[in-house]
């Protein structure tokens, strides 16, 4: 199930200038992949990180991966044909960064590809997300995050 930018915007409370997902594809019960079309001119933080030498901040890669993985926590609703958070009370928070290794810098403009495997933890509303960050097929980072995700109807 593929969601374009407009579809993604309905599945996340995150909005510009803090939305770091362009499209996602839900692959299975636990697997999702996503893309971010990273353009220098769309993000003022590149002016400062760094002047004359734009580099995607590592912390924002963590944020982007958590947004992609966050959509996957919404899977039970997608299975029921609910494709929007409108009208629902939803909470999605990054709770823990267990591990995140950045192997190589990412420079705009480029397409960043994310792959994540998201599984519920034994505690209600908590999920573990293991993911990869790639550009042009090369792995730039890996991560292991914990998310809190809750939706009330």
């Amino acid at each position: 199930m593929k969601f374009n930018q407009k579809g993604v915007e309905k599945l996340l409370k995150h909005k510009q200038p803090f939305l770091f997902v362009t499209e996602v594809e839900v692959l299975s019960e636990t697997e999702i992949k996503g893309t971010l079309d990273l353009k220098k001119t769309e993000h003022p933080f590149f002016d400062g990180h760094f002047p004359g030498d734009p580099v995607m901040p590592g912390v924002l890669l963590i944020e982007a991966l958590s947004q992609v993985a966050g959509i996957q926590t919404f899977k039970p609703f997608l299975d029921r044909g609910i494709y929007t958070l409108e009208g629902l009370s939803s909470y999605l928070y990054l709770v823990r960064v267990k591990d995140f290794v950045i192997k190589d810098k990412i420079v705009p403009d480029c397409q960043i590809d994310f792959e994540a495997e998201v599984k519920p933890l034994p505690i209600p509303y908590f999920f573990e997300a293991k993911g990869k960050v790639m550009v042009d097929g090369k792995c730039k980072a890996t991560g292991n995050l914990v998310l809190y995700s809750r939706v009330e109807e």
């Binding site: 199930m1 593929k2 374009n4 407009k6 579809g7 299975d79 029921r80 494709y83 929007t84």
Partner: protein
């Protein structure tokens, strides 16, 4: 003609292969995996076979209300034409469209039933187009839907300890539900789509069917018939389908080309929502279009009269078409080798 809004309705909760395997055994997985269907919606309780009490007309009403709710500036009384597409209406008579008219409480509308399979929704849309373009109608509901499970599931459930693959496969590959398009001659403020063209083709009228659905007719007598075997209700002829469907698709592509639609024109394609292996075969024929092919038949099952309308509605929720982009909706029908398609452009 313009598409104001779309709606859809699937009864109950998704019924997965695992849930059905509880009652029919692990052969459920063998058959369902072969066709690529993971779940479907049913108008019966899968644990008992009893009807929930909602049928095709009710699904159609809910899909219509869903479409109408998205365009509050249009009053339901403005609807002056209802065209339905289904092979499983509540009754032979009264017609499905007039039942829906009654349930929606619309006083002055013309009801028309199209009986058909996977291209019936496009046949219905073409009828609406003719009415609107000639000024006979200003605002029309085109509703496609099916309710297959209430016809055979209880019967199948009673013989769940021993059944033929041919009996079970219909439960697994078909689904219940409906989709609706609200169309008209003048575009309202919310945008919507221009429907550029709706076309149909009967490609192999002299060829015998690839799928037969027999529920009784003047030739196919039901009254006093000896026990009807379930698999006789739906007859699949896969070899005919494998041979003839590519011919139907090529005829449709030729039709598109003759109207100057090129392979780069469509950003999204909504095609048949039938079994996945069929779609994969078609994908290789269609891949020259480089469009995103939307398929959700693995979670809705095949809902012949409703599939295209429902899938398009779901697509607009998942990956809404961008302004200026074109979508191709296409249906292929194997009972008698038809195609039907329409091209929409997002305003």
């Amino acid at each position: 003609m313009y598409l104001f809004s779309t709606g859809s309705y699937l009864p109950g909760q998704p019924i997965s292969n695992e849930m059905l395997a509880e009652y029919f055994g692990s052969s459920v997985h063998l058959i369902a995996d072969y066709f690529g269907v993971k779940s479907r919606h049913m108008a019966v309780d899968y644990k008992t076979g009893k009807d929930f009490g909602e049928y095709t007309s009710d699904f159609g009403v809910k899909a219509a209300m869903d479409a109408l709710s998205k365009v509050p500036q249009i009053n339901i009384d403005q609807v002056d034409l209802i065209v339905t597409a289904s092979s499983t209406p509540d009754y032979t008579l009264p017609s499905l469209s007039s039942l829906i008219q009654e349930k929606l409480g619309i006083k002055n509308a013309i009801p028309i039933d199209i009986r058909g399979g996977c291209s019936a929704a496009m046949q219905a849309l073409l009828i609406a187009e003719l009415f609107i373009k000639t000024g006979k109608s200003k605002t029309a509901l085109v509703i496609g839907g099916e309710c297959c499970s209430t016809i055979y599931y209880e019967f199948l459930f009673k013989q769940r300890k021993s059944y033929n693959a041919k009996d079970l496969l219909n439960t697994l590959i078909f689904g219940d539900g409906a989709g609706a398009f609200l169309v008209g001659g003048t575009l309202p403020e919310n945008g919507g789509f221009e429907i550029e063209t709706v076309n149909l083709g009967s490609v192999l009228p002299d060829q015998s069917p690839g799928f037969i659905f027999s529920l009784g007719g003047c030739k196919e007598k039901i009254l006093g018939a000896k026990s009807v075997h379930l698999s006789e209700l739906f007859q699949h002829l896969p070899k005919k389908i494998e041979t003839n469907l590519p011919i139907v698709i090529r005829a449709m592509q030729k039709d598109l080309k003759s109207r100057n639609y090129g392979t780069q024109d469509f950003k999204q394609i909504v095609g048949p929502q039938a079994n996945k292996r069929l779609i994969d075969d078609m994908n290789s024929l269609l891949k020259e279009h480089k469009a995103e092919y939307f398929y959700n038949g693995d979670i809705t099952g095949n809902i012949p009269g409703g599939a295209l309308l429902l899938a398009f509605d779901r697509l607009q929720q998942i990956s809404p078409t961008l302004s200026g982009d074109k979508v191709l909706i296409m249906g292929m029908e194997s009972p008698k080798w038809l195609y039907g398609y329409c091209v929409l452009r997002k305003q």
